[in-house]
């Protein structure tokens, strides 16, 4: 009985200490504020795209966190995940953008309905959302009506304006008071002026543009053909190409992750045989064409803390995928179970 009373005092004391501690003005950590977010594009028929969360400390993985938090399926194929201030923009190529709290994953708003067709990416500027959308397919499966949709509220709403692009818009990059649009089918960069919201010019690019990178203060555009990858240095004032580094690699994909000291890792795909090529953007050399090999490689990421390469395996779109963690020697360190068709990573260290 004495022991029980002593335990009671101890409990009261601990509660007091805890309450004192809690009186500090400190925001509790959002459940998904730290850790690895795995973007799962999802399989086409079930439209089961969502995001997985991996805890680096405990090794715990949570699947479908959008559905878990919001009690409804994301119901789309996740093409991209954009971070802006406290928000994530989950871009579904099935016709919507959902805006969520980036720390808790609670839905805050959306852009959806008839206005969007095949959204690919988004960027926030001037308190507006600019959404890159391929537009509808025509009979020959091309997209002659591609556009950038503008929404005048960062938490979603209706599309207030559509601006036609030169072809399928993919990744976007903000610089000065402009948005650079990587247009894949026409192999061009379209320049969109923020504010007047009109395309001011288009610049032709060798190779199919994939994404913009910043390296050593330079702005680069990564583009590719079936046998080479290109890193075009873009003039930060007139957006012309001032320098191009070409590296001959057969069958490169658009999946690239930047590593240390101007190095990068790129997925190449020859039939069902997939490789990770390690290259140096700085020197224009292939460091190791077969740094890591396998099949079903669908996305790649680089963690600057532990210097590991994260490779997403889609498992042939048959059920959920796997993330293979690879060290600097090209050796598998561990595997993480992901959702369906993992395609990208966000490292929240």
């Amino acid at each position: 009985m004495k022991n029980l009373r002593f335990f009671g005092h101890l409990l009261a004391l601990s509660l007091f200490i805890y309450s004192c501690d809690g009186s500090k003005v400190e925001r509790p950590l959002g459940e998904y504020e730290k850790g690895l977010l795995i973007i799962n594009e999802g399989n086409f028929t079930p439209r089961d795209g969502d995001v997985s969360h991996y805890n680096f400390n405990t090794g715990e993985i949570q699947q479908n966190i959008f559905e878990k938090v919001n009690n409804r399926p994301f119901a789309g194929l996740v093409q991209d995940l954009i971070e802006y201030e406290d928000y994530f923009y989950l871009v579904a190529n099935t016709g919507k953008v959902e805006i969520i709290n980036k720390n808790t994953f609670e839905s805050l708003g959306s852009v959806e309905g008839e206005e969007l067709n095949i959204p690919r990416s988004a960027i926030i500027a001037d308190n507006k959302i600019y959404i890159a959308d391929w537009g509808p397919y025509n009979a020959s499966f091309s997209n002659p009506e591609s556009f950038i949709a503008i929404v005048s509220n960062v938490t979603g709403g209706v599309v207030s304006k559509k601006i036609e692009t030169s072809s399928r818009p993919e990744k976007l990059h903000r610089i000065n008071n402009d948005i650079l649009i990587a247009c894949t089918a026409a192999r061009k960069i379209d320049v969109l002026g923020i504010g007047d919201d009109a395309i001011s010019k288009s610049i032709e690019i060798p190779g199919t543009p994939a994404e913009f990178l910043e390296l050593d203060g330079k702005l680069l555009l990564f583009s590719r053909t079936s046998s080479s990858v290109f890193f075009h240095e873009i003039d930060k004032n007139d957006y012309s190409i001032v320098n191009t580094t070409e590296i001959n690699i057969p069958n490169p994909t658009s999946n690239l992750a930047s590593g240390e000291n101007g190095e990068a890792y790129i997925i190449t795909r020859d039939g069902s045989n997939n490789s990770i090529s390690k290259i140096s953007i700085t020197t224009g050399q292939i460091i190791n064409a077969n740094f890591f090999e396998g099949s079903g490689f669908y996305g790649i990421g680089y963690d600057k803390i532990d210097k590991y390469i994260y490779v997403a395996d889609n498992n042939g779109f048959q059920g959920s995928g796997t993330v293979i963690v690879v060290n600097q020697n090209g050796e598998e360190v561990k595997k993480i179970t992901s959702g369906a068709a993992p395609s990208g990573f966000v490292f929240k260290r």
């Binding site: 089961d48 099935t94 498992n315 048959q318 959920s320």
Partner: protein, 626 residues
């Protein structure tokens, strides 16, 4: 061991089910009925279930998919209301069941399956389900079972006219008009129908923030069709019959929730069959020729296939105890698909034998060999038996068992699609064993029949399309074990002018993936996607004089959406009620009116993930025959 079991466990002739004629009766009956070969004659050891004609009436103009989903233990993967519906039997995939119309195969040779949403009830007179592996009887595709749709014409009925109308919620209007004339030598029947629905039901859109209630867009359906049946009794022992069916379905394709797709699909199906039958005291000789023309246009992409079929067989009654059917079937297939053209010749030889050593013991042996484009499909034998081991004036107990092999040749798309088609694919193969028990009790005022089947099947070389570089390509890669149980019950209680009847079924299905397709695949040991472990269905019907009331319910267990068995679509149960009244004006003018409420609890459910289905809805039927 199984063979030993088979030798001992055998069972009784299916006289309770046998509604088609026996070969012994044919000479007498051929004058009043258009002959069609009895489906269950060489299928001892397996189960056939004829769809109740009252169900066919109540579903007039609706899809066969809806009928099977609501009134049987089978599960159909429905991509929305009135949209693509594929059947899964005994845990197999959509292409693993054969579909026949008047004895000719109508599965699409390019897709390898049938869309049960464009087969309207009213386009045939009888529907029969053959449960289980039956490749030796029917040829390719019949791994999980087969569906037979038949027209049934008669002679000596004079002029007959029938009008059937159904109106219902969401702009449904189904209309059928039929006129027939027959005398002792000639029979003709013409039918035209039109089935339309706006299909603009309300649903909760889970893909939108806040899951708002919306009306379904882009899901309207219009179907029209015509059927002509003709038959002649040529002389005393020969009959010629033909059926022609034109069916056209134009649909807006209901988009998955969250999608703004505005797809359209137009299906055109023409099927014709001509049968010649010659009857002797000991044999029936059949020559069948048929044509099946299918055109599927999805948006601007047009895919056409043609099948030309010629078959002949002789069904001998060698003795009371021994019956034999020998035949061959030739099928010329032409594919004009959006990405390729292909032709194929299929030749099949088949032999069926029934051996009935005693009135309570029967055996069937079936053998089939198909050759397609010069390649041998797997040789397909089956053996089955039925044994009535207890019988008194009220009860009968019987058991049946069978062991059978089945196969599915790769579809034209599997082999020739550009890009990715794989011409080196092998046929999918299965080996199946089943055993069952039937109990029938009948004392005139109370009837109960119950049946349980247990099966175990192994399917290998299962074809899966996988991404291979820049395109997808099919491979013989999966191995699956299907196990399960089927239970059927029918009970009838009669009190003077009142009859209470219950029909029910329950299916338990385990479809277990036995292998992995890549190093990081985790599907081994898991259930196949969209294959419910459980489905139960029941129909309680009360008939008093000319009034009928029914309550029908079915329940489908959860279905995994992927082979990883992580996410699933929730289990759901649906209750429908209905009331109908038959009226007779003058002796030959009969009418019936019916009222149905489907999904009376307004359940919000999906068959497949994110494919909206309608809530509570109403139907009014009106039938007139004179």
């Amino acid at each position: 061991m199984l063979l030993i079991t088979l030798l001992f466990i055998v069972s009784f002739s299916k006289e309770t089910n046998q509604t088609v004629l026996n070969s012994q009766d044919t000479v007498e009956l051929k004058l009043v009925e258009v002959y069609s070969a009895p489906l269950d004659k060489y299928s001892f050891g397996q189960s056939l279930q004829k769809i109740d004609s009252r169900d066919l009436n109540e579903f007039q103009g609706q899809t066969l998919a809806d009928l099977l989903q609501q009134r049987s233990g089978l599960f159909l993967r429905q991509y929305g209301a009135g949209m693509l519906a594929s059947l899964t039997m005994r845990g197999t995939s959509a292409g693993h069941n054969a579909v026949f119309w008047n004895g000719i195969p109508i599965n699409s040779p390019s897709l390898g399956q049938a869309d049960f949403s464009i087969l309207p009830v009213g386009g045939f007179d009888e529907a029969t389900i053959h449960y289980g592996s039956s490749g030796a009887l029917y040829g390719t595709d019949a791994i999980g079972g087969a569906i037979h749709l038949n027209n049934k014409s008669t002679f000596n009925k004079g002029h007959q006219t029938r009008v059937a109308s159904t109106v219902g919620s969401f702009g449904r209007w189904n209309q059928l008009v039929e006129y027939g004339y027959s005398n002792g030598f000639y029979s003709s029947r013409s039918r035209v129908y039109r089935n339309t629905s706006k299909n603009n039901f309300k649903f909760r859109n889970l893909a939108r923030a806040g899951s708002p209630e919306e009306r379904q867009n882009n899901a309207a359906i219009e179907q029209i069709g015509a059927i002509q049946d003709l038959a002649w009794n040529i002389g005393a022992n020969q009959q010629l019959s033909t059926s022609i069916w034109w069916n056209q379905t134009d649909r807006q394709i209901q988009p998955v929730m969250g999608s703004n797709d505005k797809d359209r699909q137009e299906d055109r199906n023409f099927r014709a069959v001509l049968d010649y039958n010659k009857f002797t005291t000991s044999a029936i000789w059949n020559i069948k020729t048929g044509v099946v023309l299918d055109q599927l246009q999805f948006n601007n992409s047009i895919n056409k296939t043609s099948q030309f079929l010629l078959s002949s067989d002789i069904d001998w009654t060698i003795s009371e105890k021994l019956k034999s059917k020998s035949g061959l079937r030739f099928n010329h297939v032409i594919g004009n698909l959006s990405s390729y053209e292909a032709t194929e010749d299929r030749l099949e030889l088949y032999q069926s034998i029934n051996f009935l050593p005693s009135p309570s013991l029967s055996f069937s042996v079936n053998l089939r060999q198909m050759i397609f484009n010069g390649d041998f499909a797997p040789f397909t034998p089956s053996i089955g038996s039925e044994w009535t081991f207890f019988k008194n004036n009220k009860s009968t107990l019987s058991t049946h068992s069978s062991l059978s092999k089945s196969f599915k040749i790769p579809t034209l798309n599997d082999r020739f699609w550009v890009p990715g088609g794989n011409p080196d694919l092998e046929s999918e193969e299965s080996i199946s064993a089943e055993i069952g028990l039937i109990h029938v009790f009948d004392n005139k005022r109370f009837f109960i029949s119950s049946q349980i089947n247990i099966y175990n099947m192994w399917v290998d070389n299962w074809i899966i399309w996988l991404p291979r570089g820049n395109f997808w390509s099919p491979e013989n890669i999966r191995e699956v074990r299907n196990q399960g149980l089927e239970y059927f019950i029918t009970a009838k209680k009669t009190f003077n002018l009142t009859q209470l009847e219950f029909n029910g079924s329950y299916n338990w299905t385990l479809a277990t993936i036995l292998n992995t397709i890549s190093e990081n695949d985790r599907s081994e040991g898991n259930q196949l996607p969209y294959t419910p472990f459980h489905k139960a269905q029941g129909n309680l019907r009360l008939t008093h004089k000319t009034n009928t009331a029914f309550i029908n319910g079915y329940w489908v267990g959860e279905r995994y959406i992927n082979t990883d068995n992580i996410s699933s679509v929730a289990a759901y149960g649906i209750l429908d009620i209905g009331f109908s009244k038959s009226l007779t004006f003058i002796s030959k003018v009969k009418a019936s009116v019916g009222f149905q409420v489907n999904n009376i609890t307004n359940n919000d459910y999906q068959v497949l993930r994110l494919r909206a289905m309608p809530g509570r809805n109403y139907l009014i039927n009106f039938n007139l025959s004179l």
